[in-house]
């Protein structure tokens, strides 16, 4: 363990103690497009337990690719990706569900089922992962209360505002008590007020100990906080505030 730690420390000047709590690790990861070119070039990144990390950059810079690699929607072309102890490159099809049960994932477009109410959408995640039936309603109510939607449990998505729909999606992501929450442009479809609300919710979730990785191009949001920021440009990590504060000037 000590040896691994030392060699890693030479790559990235992160305090060694942190390596014991690494939950996401990218080592020289390349991801090529099917038609040539790279979506991700030599990306190395370590995210510790409980961290809040922004992934920023223009569309197509590789933010979504990094997230997809994290939840094993894609596999690295080369290099090593480890998430919550799973080596994504060598994951067998039956292990993917096991990985995803430890993750919560939210998207710009919410991805709710229109023909189910808020609570049914949240319960769905528990039903299809084989939770005990009796335990489901209690857990759903608790998590809906956590996102501030206790009063709208029986509303259908079309009856909810964008911000509320995203809260339902976040509740669904949280209901399995994930160690890591991955958010791909979670505020991309929301107005300013809803954005603030959802962002605050993510901060609260992070404060509760959940690691949050959030891809966004909303730089106002990024500047509001002192969270770690990783900037991507054309598939390469060009800036990581967790590594080198002096490069902060690069951030536009």
């Amino acid at each position: 363990m000590q040896g691994t730690c030392a060699s890693l420390c030479t790559l990235h000047p992160v305090p060694c103690t942190l390596y014991l709590f690494i939950v996401i690790q990218f080592s020289h990861v390349f991801k090529s497009f099917p038609k040539g070119g790279f979506a991700l070039k030599d990306a190395s990144l370590h995210v510790a337990k409980g961290e809040f990390v922004f992934l920023t950059g223009h569309s197509g810079a590789g933010k979504s690719t990094m997230l997809k690699l994290m939840y094993a929607e894609q596999r690295p072309s080369s290099g090593d990706v480890r998430v919550s102890g799973f080596a994504i490159g060598e994951l067998s099809p039956s292990e993917i569900p096991r990985l995803r049960r430890r993750l919560g994932i939210v998207f710009q477009d919410f991805r709710l089922l229109e023909d189910r109410t808020a609570e049914e959408n949240v319960a769905f995640a528990l039903e299809v992962t084989g939770s005990r039936r009796e335990s489901i309603p209690g857990r759903v109510q608790r998590v809906l209360a956590q996102v501030g939607l206790a009063g709208k449990a029986s509303a259908y998505p079309r009856e909810l505002s964008g911000g509320e729909q995203q809260r339902v999606a976040i509740a669904r992501a949280l209901v399995n008590d994930p160690a890591i929450l991955l958010a791909d442009e979670p505020t991309g479809n929301l107005d300013e007020r809803a954005t603030r609300g959802v962002f605050q919710l993510l901060r609260d979730i992070n404060a509760g100990g959940t690691c949050v990785v959030m891809a966004t191009h909303d730089l106002d949001l990024v500047r509001q906080t002192s969270y770690r920021t990783v900037e991507l440009r054309e598939g390469s990590i060009v800036f990581d505030s967790g590594l080198d504060e002096s490069n902060g000037a690069e951030l536009p």
Partner: protein
């Protein structure tokens, strides 16, 4: 488990027409095969009786002395392929004709002279009851001077056999065609359902539903359709059987229906057909979601 079966059952409500179509195509496919099976079953039962009666009949010239006949029949009994030799006198032949050919009873009764010849009925041992041996035996028997004519009924058995093979081929082809259509229809239904539920499936996968949870409903749906198709096929076959039975066609010989094991096999085959169709289709279409 409950969720999986609920989803599977829901598919019948989502696409009732297509579901009914899949079930009926499987049913027809198996019905055609099953019907042939019934015909073959009955034919075999009928033929078993006939085969035992495979014999060569040697009609004797009128006035052949009984001693000659006795020696000859002993000779013939010694042939390796011969099982029994029975002498049927002219009187016996007439008596038999009167009882068996009921329609001609009056004709035979009013006869003044017996038109029927005496004969030797030679039956063959098992294993020699094929056209070749029968013909060879017939030729040898014909060589006796007092034998006027030799008859053997192998021809129509052969023809029946050939007919059975042709019918089997035709029916198998039709059955196979129906099976292919059934597989295609089941595949299409599943493709539609997969597309219709693409969102749901994507979310299931995202939150970590196991493969069984995603595929289970589709596989169960296919198997269920196959099972229902098999049951329907058995039912149709039974109706067909009753129809034949009720008709004069079946009377006398007493038609047989499937044994329970045959019924189980048809249902099993239907289930497997439905299951494999959905297995292939789900594998193909889920990849695109």
């Amino acid at each position: 488990m409950r969720l999986v079966s609920r989803e599977a059952l829901l598919s019948f409500r989502r696409a009732p027409l297509l579901s009914a179509l899949s079930v009926t195509t499987i049913a027809f496919s198996l019905f055609v095969v099953g019907l042939f099976g019934l015909v073959a079953l009955n034919l075999r039962a009928a033929l078993r009786g006939v085969e035992e009666r495979v014999e060569v009949v040697a009609y004797l010239l009128r006035g052949t002395p009984p001693e000659t006949i006795a020696t000859a029949s002993e000779d013939i009994s010694a042939f390796p392929e011969v099982q029994t030799v029975d002498y049927v006198s002219a009187e016996q032949a007439l008596a038999r004709a009167r009882t068996t050919m009921v329609e001609f009873r009056d004709v035979y009764r009013d006869l003044e002279v017996n038109p029927l010849p005496a004969s030797l009925e030679i039956s063959l041992k098992e294993g020699f009851r094929d056209a070749e041996h029968v013909r060879a035996l017939a030729d040898r028997v014909k060589a006796y001077q007092f034998v006027e004519d030799v008859r053997y009924g192998r021809d129509w058995i052969e023809r029946l056999d050939k007919l059975r093979n042709i019918a089997g081929l035709v029916v198998m082809t039709i059955g196979l065609a129906f099976a292919v259509v059934a597989v295609v229809i089941i595949g299409t239904t599943i493709r539609m359902t997969v597309l219709q539920r693409a969102r749901e499936i994507a979310i299931m996968r995202l939150v970590g539903a196991s493969d069984w949870f995603v595929r289970g409903p589709f596989l169960l749906e296919g198997a269920l359709k196959g099972f229902l198709g098999g049951a329907l096929a058995v039912l149709l076959s039974y109706l067909g059987y009753l129809l034949f039975q009720g008709n004069q066609l079946g009377s006398g010989t007493g038609l047989v229906f499937f044994q329970p094991i045959h019924i189980a096999l048809i249902m099993l085959f239907g289930t497997l057909l439905g299951l494999s169709a959905s297995l292939v289709s789900v594998g193909r279409h889920l990849r695109n979601v």
